[in-house]
Symmetry: C2
Subunit: 391 residues, 2 copies
């Protein structure tokens, strides 16, 4: 069985209200059986279906994180995984590549939690799903959701990760709360805060800031998906004609939309950085500028992004930005790169001049700031996303 | 600092929208600091505030479970922890004993997850909270929610349990998804399914069914809370006069309402039963009749509740049942006991005639059923609660 494609999709008119809890569980478990480690429950562990699961933690600790997504805030039924948008309801072009409704929502819910495990240097060991939904929810949608969760586990390479439990409840709208666990295989977790010794020894701190994964693509995708379909087609066509590209801008737009809908954190990267001596680490969920600022202020430091890096990183997105808004191509692309969240890249701090770990690029520095605030939260002061102050 | 009482409550008019994520986190963490194990993060573990937490798992495994509660389904802002009811909005009598709004919702969210850890024979080690809410949510309510979570951890005796992480998101309504983890201290988990050896050796199976904790009180409390305030007062007064009791029925009603709002699973009981040789175990969240049926059918057996036990257990509730509905006192009380959920008692199966573990009572048997279905889900056939088929 594969995560999607070969398992027949339930009829569109069927709703979860007609199934009862046990029927819904059957639908979910059929999809969850597609993750590579499914069914592999060693002696002394317990899989789903009991009051609780029992998961192995070989080195005597486990990593754990949780994230909730709400309908019409973090995803839409017909156009998932978008923050508070004015999204059109036609998912034809960008959501229609054989993905059932719910697939991207499930993928993203899993991916953002797997990314948090990665950001501690851990390897994912388990996912739990607490799902509330109205009885009128189409069975096909939750089947797609489950397929998307299994798809992310499978395609992002979480080879040891199983679906270990969950909970079903009814509500007027859908919320998807995922919890992920991971294993450190005997390594120390890499935290947002530097080990105390680093500051004690040097007095002045100067660290390289490195990034694994793309940034700006999910934000570009959000702008693509929020542009009304007819207008989007018109602008992409105009851009193609003006630049004499064959399908180039349209392809960029599709890749960006996919990056927003189904982000791809590089799950091995946390371990690679930890083994390469990363001193502090976090994933980028709210924008490089904001999250680098958080990494800095958590250590009483200041983040400096390399403007050349921002310009280079933005350059590939400029044709798309210019297509969407001819007046502000370069500026928009640089905003996507520096302030756009949800690509789930991985930020790490390394001693200055240390070898950059495989898959990472140097994007700036963390430096001692004269008059910088001591370790404090960064509020909403550097752009990027806050669930409560930015709306 | 204590879980409630000494920490000043935020002004009623303040909303979370004015605070931002960091402000909300400060409110929550102030309350979470009141759990006994707070601040005790051993070498190699990581507390809240990073991408993920790292929790100790001394015996190389951990127990994990998750549950979500939705506003107006599982709780109400002014009258929490009630399923789909026609609840009145006056919480004066039963919610007013110094508990802030949100307290019972937090307590119940924590208690039902801690109960699941208990039901595997584990000791709670951590809680995570994924909270979605509108910006207009009163700060006082989430302060109460956090106090209720900390209160349950403290007063139910989860001495090693810390609040290890969480997530905040915005939504039109509040959902509270809690994940709990636990430790087995080297014991085997006690599952719903019997160890294979039990069935293989005996051929015919006959097991004692034992219960720890009350049953029927939360269901009685639901009926109390769903009775309009004026009518409730009138009926309780009439019952007191008729039976010449001094405040007896009113006191029963208050205890029942508290059982519904702030259930008290007996957290040590899972370990006691495991050490006493319990062969299968689960907590009672959907009613003794339904959950004993599930325990039976999970093993291809049939559950027989002792009718004398049901009658005895119901007897103390009969005056309250008769006060609420004079025509059907005994019948109502027996329905509360056999079909009422949410007391989070603990059901266990033991070899026939084995010593009943401390705190448990024998309530019936699990027997080989001629023509009973092989291990299968029990659907909604034995009463009790199903989120999707009972509404």
């Amino acid at each position: 069985m594969t995560a999607r494609g070969r398992t027949p999709t339930p009829p569109v008119h069927e709703t979860v209200g007609g199934l009862g809890e046990s029927g819904i569980l059957r639908i979910l478990n059929r999809r969850f059986a597609a993750v590579p480690a499914a069914g592999d429950w060693p002696e002394g562990t317990v899989g789903p279906g009991d009051d609780a699961a029992v998961v192995a933690a070989p080195d005597g600790r486990f990593v754990i994180t949780t994230d909730a997504m709400a309908q019409d805030r973090d995803f839409r039924l017909d156009w998932p995984a978008v923050h508070g948008g004015r999204a059109h309801s036609d998912r034809g072009t960008f959501e229609g590549h054989g993905f059932p409704g719910g697939y991207s929502t499930g993928w993203k819910a899993a991916a953002q939690n797997l990314s948090d495990i990665n950001a501690m240097g851990g390897e994912p060991s388990g996912l739990l799903l607490a799902l509330t939904m109205p009885p009128a929810t189409p069975v096909a949608w939750i089947d797609g959701l489950a397929a998307g969760i299994a798809g992310a586990v499978r395609h992002l390479g979480a080879a040891r990760c199983r679906i270990v439990g969950g909970d079903l409840g009814s509500d007027d709208r859908i919320t998807v709360a995922v919890t992920a666990t991971g294993d450190l295989d005997g390594r120390l977790a890499v935290r947002r805060t530097l080990p105390p010794a680093v500051c004690a020894v040097t007095g002045r701190v100067d660290l390289d800031l490195v990034l694994c994964g793309r940034t700006g693509w999910a934000a570009a995708g959000l702008d693509v998906l929020e542009t009304p379909r007819g207008l989007l087609d018109e602008r992409l066509r105009a851009a193609e004609q003006a630049e004499q590209l064959e399908d180039g801008v349209r392809r960029l737009a599709a890749v960006a939309a996919a990056a927003q809908l189904r982000p791809r954190p590089v799950l091995g990267a946390g371990r690679v950085a930890a083994e390469a001596g990363a001193l502090a680490m976090m994933d980028v969920s709210d924008g490089v500028l904001k999250d680098a600022g958080r990494l800095a202020t958590a250590n009483g430091l200041r983040a400096e992004l390399d403007p050349d890096w921002v310009r280079r990183e933005a350059s590939v997105l400029v044709p798309l930005a210019r297509a969407l808004d001819p007046a502000s191509g370069q500026r928009t692309a640089e905003r996507w790169v520096s302030a756009g969240g949800e690509d789930y890249g991985l930020l790490a701090a390394l001693p200055t001049g240390a070898a950059v770990p495989t898959g990472f690029r140097r994007i700036g520095r963390l430096v001692t700031a004269s008059g910088a605030p001591a370790a404090a939260d960064n509020g909403g002061s550097t752009g990027g996303w806050d669930h409560f102050t930015d709306r």
